[in-house]
C-alpha cells in the first residue's frame, strides 16, 4: 500500500523554498499585505457592530428601531458632493410613537428628537452640541446608567436636563454639577442628573452620550415651534417571540399614518447594528476593494515566482518523472509549495492586520474585534489565493516533457 506522499511533499517543498529564501519571503510579503488589509477591515468594522450588538443585548435584546427611510433613487451618494439624506425631513411624529407604544407586547417605546444647541455657562460656552429630547421610557430601551441624580421623568420641571459625563466637566469644571444651571437656546436648564461615562460613543442611537444633553420631549418641542419631529423611535418588546409580531404591527400602523407611504424603515435584531451611514459604507467598500486588489496582486506574485521556479527546475522535474513521479505527484509538489507560501503569508497577514487594527483603533473610540472567524477568513482567503494562483504553474510543470527537460544542457 503506498503511503500518501503529503509529508514528502511538505518536506520537499520546505527544502526547495528554503533554498530560495529571499525570493520566498518577498512572495510571502505580497500575500501578507493582502490578508492584512482584509483582516484590518473586518476587525474594525466587526468591532463597531459588535459594540452595538452588545448594547442591544445588555438591555435584554428584543429591540426594534424605527427610522426614516433614506432616498434610494437618484445619484449615488458617493458622487454627491453634499449628501442628500442629511437634509431629508423625518415624517415620524408623536402620533406614531403613541400608536406604537400601545401595541400589545411592547414593554417600552421611546421617541427621539435630536437638535443642535449651544449650551452656555459662566465657565464655558460650547457650540453645536447634541441635544437629545426624549421621554422617560428611553431608559428602558438603552443601557444608560446614571452617575448622580435622576433621569428626566414626568414629574420634574420642563426645564430640567440630564447631561453626559464629559459635558459636565466641559461646562462646569466639575464631574457632579447637580443643581447647577446652563443656558440653551434662550432657556435656562437645571442639571438633575449626570450620565456615567461610557467609553463607546458608538451606539444605535448615533449619539455620543458623554457629551449629550438630554431633555424632555416637551422641551425639545418648544425649540421647534411645538412640533415634535422624531429621528428615531426605539421599541423594546417583552420577549423575542412578540418582537416579530410587533414589527408587523408597527409597519401596519405607520403605513396607515403615513398614507401608505413607506418612508420609514423598521430594523430589529442584528439589523440594528448595521451601519446606516452611507459614508461608513462607502469607506468600507473602498477599503474592501483595495484589499481585494492587493490580494490579487499578491496572488499574481505567487504565480510569477512559481513559474520562475518551474523554469529553473525543469531538469529536476524531468528527472523526477524519469524516476517515477507521476503528473499528479509533480502537481502536488508545486501546489504544496504554493500553499505553504500562502499559509505563512496568511498567518503573518492576520497578525499584521490585527496590529494595524489596534493602531488604527487608537484614533477611533472602539476596539477591534478578535474573533476566530475573522482569523479563519484571513487564512482561508490566503489558502484560496495560493490554490488558484499556484495551479497554473503546477500544471505547467507537470506537462513538461521529461525528454525535452532532460535534454536541455546537452
Amino acid at each position: 500500500m503506498r503511503r500518501p506522499l503529503v509529508f514528502e511533499h511538505i518536506s520537499m517543498a520546505y527544502d526547495s523554498l528554503r533554498a530560495t529564501r529571499s525570493r520566498t519571503l518577498l512572495t510571502v510579503l505580497g500575500v501578507t499585505i493582502g490578508v492584512a488589509s482584509v483582516t484590518t477591515i473586518l476587525a474594525l468594522s466587526f468591532g463597531v457592530s459588535r459594540i452595538i450588538s452588545h448594547q442591544v443585548e445588555s438591555i435584554g435584546g428584543n429591540i426594534a428601531v424605527v427610522r426614516p427611510r433614506l432616498p434610494e433613487h437618484g445619484t449615488s451618494s458617493l458622487s454627491d458632493y453634499v449628501v442628500q439624506q442629511s437634509f431629508s425631513t423625518s415624517t415620524l411624529t408623536e402620533k406614531d410613537y403613541a400608536a406604537i407604544a400601545s401595541i400589545p407586547g411592547v414593554e417600552a417605546a421611546a421617541p427621539i428628537m435630536t437638535i443642535t444647541g449651544s449650551p452656555k455657562t459662566k465657565l464655558a460656552s460650547l457650540k453645536s452640541n447634541v441635544v437629545f429630547a426624549t421621554t422617560p421610557s428611553f431608559l428602558q430601551t438603552v443601557n444608560l446608567p446614571l452617575r448622580e441624580g435622576q433621569f428626566i421623568d414626568s414629574i420634574t420641571n420642563i426645564n430640567t436636563a440630564v447631561i453626559g459625563g464629559q459635558l459636565a466637566v466641559d461646562l462646569f469644571g466639575t464631574e457632579v454639577p447637580i443643581g447647577q444651571t446652563f443656558e440653551l437656546r434662550g432657556q435656562t436648564f437645571t442639571v438633575i442628573g449626570i450620565l456615567q461615562r461610557t467609553n463607546d460613543p458608538v451606539n444605535y442611537n448615533n449619539v455620543d452620550f458623554d457629551r449629550a444633553i438630554i431633555l424632555s420631549l416637551e422641551s425639545g418641542k418648544l425649540f421647534n415651534n411645538g412640533i415634535s419631529q422624531l429621528q428615531q423611535i426605539n421599541i423594546r418588546a417583552k420577549d423575542n417571540d412578540s418582537l416579530g409580531r410587533i414589527v408587523q404591527a408597527t409597519d401596519t400602523i405607520l403605513a396607515k399614518n403615513h398614507s401608505g407611504e413607506q418612508d420609514y424603515i423598521i430594523l430589529h435584531g442584528s439589523q440594528v447594528a448595521d451601519p446606516t451611514s452611507q459614508l461608513f459604507r462607502s469607506v468600507a467598500g473602498v477599503l474592501t476593494a483595495i484589499a481585494a486588489i492587493s490580494l490579487v496582486v499578491g496572488g499574481i506574485g505567487i504565480m510569477n515566482i512559481m513559474l520562475v521556479g518551474v523554469a529553473e527546475r525543469t531538469r529536476e522535474i524531468g528527472l523526477r518523472k524519469a524516476v517515477g513521479a507521476s503528473n499528479t505527484n509533480i502537481v502536488s509538489q508545486f501546489m504544496t509549495e504554493s500553499l505553504i507560501i500562502s499559509l505563512v503569508g496568511g498567518l503573518a497577514g492576520v497578525a499584521v492586520g490585527y496590529l494595524a487594527a489596534l493602531i488604527a483603533s487608537t484614533f477611533f473610540a472602539f476596539r477591534p474585534a478578535f474573533t476566530w472567524w475573522i482569523v479563519a477568513i484571513g487564512i482561508g482567503i490566503a489558502l484560496i489565493v495560493g490554490l488558484v494562483f499556484g495551479l497554473y504553474p503546477a500544471i505547467r510543470a507537470a506537462r513538461k516533457n521529461p525528454i525535452e527537460s532532460l535534454r536541455q544542457y546537452h
Partner: protein, 273 residues
C-alpha cells in the same frame, strides 16, 4: 535441458513513432521488432537521427509509441495510464543519463534514494536502502557529499546506484560515458559489466564503438529500423554493409557472425534454468 519459453524482459512488435506534420512527417521508429531476454547486456548504436534515443525513451516509458506493442516483463504497457507508467518507472526501470542528472540541492544518499520516494517508502527506510547500495559501490565515504563536490566519474556512479536502488527489471543507459574522460569511462563500463554479471538486464545507447566489447549483444539502427542485430540472425543484410557484386547471401551471413566479439544469446544453449 528443456528450453522453457521464458518471458522476455522486453518485447517490441511493430513499434512505430512518428514525428513532424504534413510533408515533414517521418518515422523516428519504423515498425521495430525486438526481443530482449533477461540478463542481456545490449548496446544500441547508430548515427544521429537513427532513432536510438527515441527507442530508449519509449523503453523507459518516457514516451509513447504511435503504433505497435511494447511488452515489459510480459505485460503490455500501451493501454496503461500516465500514472501507471510512472509507477512502473519507479519500480521496474532504472535510467542512467549522459549528463548524470543529479539534483544539486540534495546530497548523494538523498539523490540515490529519490526513486524510492515515489514507491511510497518512509524516509529513513529509503535512506537506509540508498546507503546499502552506496556501500556496494564503495561510495560510503561520500554519502553526505553534495553533487558538485564529486568528480564526473563519481557522479555517474551515484547515478547508477540511483538507477539500481529500486531493484529494477531493466536498466537503461543513454550515453553513460558521454561526458566522462577515458579513465572514468572505463570505470563506469566496468561497473555496468559487473551489474550485468550479477544478472541485471542492461540496455545501453552509445556512439562509442570502443564500448561494444562489454556488451553481449549489439544492435545497430538506421533510419528508425534495426539494421543489424547480433542477437537476431534472421534479419536481412544491413544497409550499412557493403555488398560486393556477384556474391550470394549465405556468404554474407557467415561474415556477419564472425564480425562480432560475443556470441548472440539466443543461439546459446543453456543447461541451467
Amino acid at each position: 535441458m528443456a528450453t522453457r519459453k521464458k518471458t522476455p524482459a522486453i518485447e517490441l512488435k511493430a513499434l512505430t513513432k512518428r514525428y513532424g506534420i504534413g510533408d515533414a512527417e517521418h518515422n523516428a521508429l519504423d515498425e521495430v521488432d525486438l526481443r530482449i531476454e533477461k540478463g542481456e547486456f545490449v548496446t544500441i548504436m547508430g548515427p544521429s537521427g537513427c532513432g536510438k534515443t527515441t527507442l530508449l525513451n519509449i523503453l523507459g516509458l518516457l514516451d509513447r509509441s504511435d503504433d505497435g506493442e511494447y511488452y515489459l516483463d510480459g505485460k503490455s504497457v500501451e493501454r496503461l495510464s500516465g500514472s501507471q507508467h510512472a509507477r512502473i518507472r519507479s519500480e521496474q526501470i532504472g535510467i542512467v543519463f549522459q549528463s548524470f542528472n543529479l539534483i544539486n540541492r540534495l546530497n548523494v544518499v538523498e539523490n540515490v534514494a529519490l526513486p524510492l520516494t515515489y514507491s511510497g517508502m518512509r524516509k529513513y527506510k529509503r535512506l537506509e536502502a540508498a546507503s546499502a547500495i552506496l556501500k556496494n559501490f564503495h561510495l560510503s565515504e561520500r554519502e553526505y557529499y553534495m553533487p558538485w563536490q564529486l568528480s564526473g566519474g563519481q557522479m555517474q556512479r551515484v547515478a547508477i546506484a540511483r538507477a539500481l536502488v529500486n531493484n529494477p527489471s531493466i536498466i537503461l543507459a543513454d550515453e553513460p560515458t558521454g561526458n566522462l574522460d577515458s579513465r572514468s569511462s572505463h570505470v563506469i563500463m566496468e561497473e555496468l559489466s559487473e551489474l550485468h554479471q550479477r544478472g541485471n538486464t542492461i540496455i545501453m545507447v552509445t556512439h562509442n564503438p570502443n564500448l561494444t566489447s562489454y556488451a553481449t549483444r549489439i544492435i545497430k539502427m538506421l533510419d528508425g529500423r534495426i539494421d543489424s542485430d547480433t542477437g537476431n540472425p534472421t534479419l536481412p543484410p544491413p544497409m550499412t554493409e557493403k555488398i560486393p557484386l556477384g556474391k550470394s547471401a549465405p556468404t554474407i551471413r557467415k561474415r556477419r557472425h564472425k564480425s562480432t566479439a560475443a556470441q548472440p544469446v539466443s543461439s546459446r544453449k543453456r543447461s541451467k534454468r
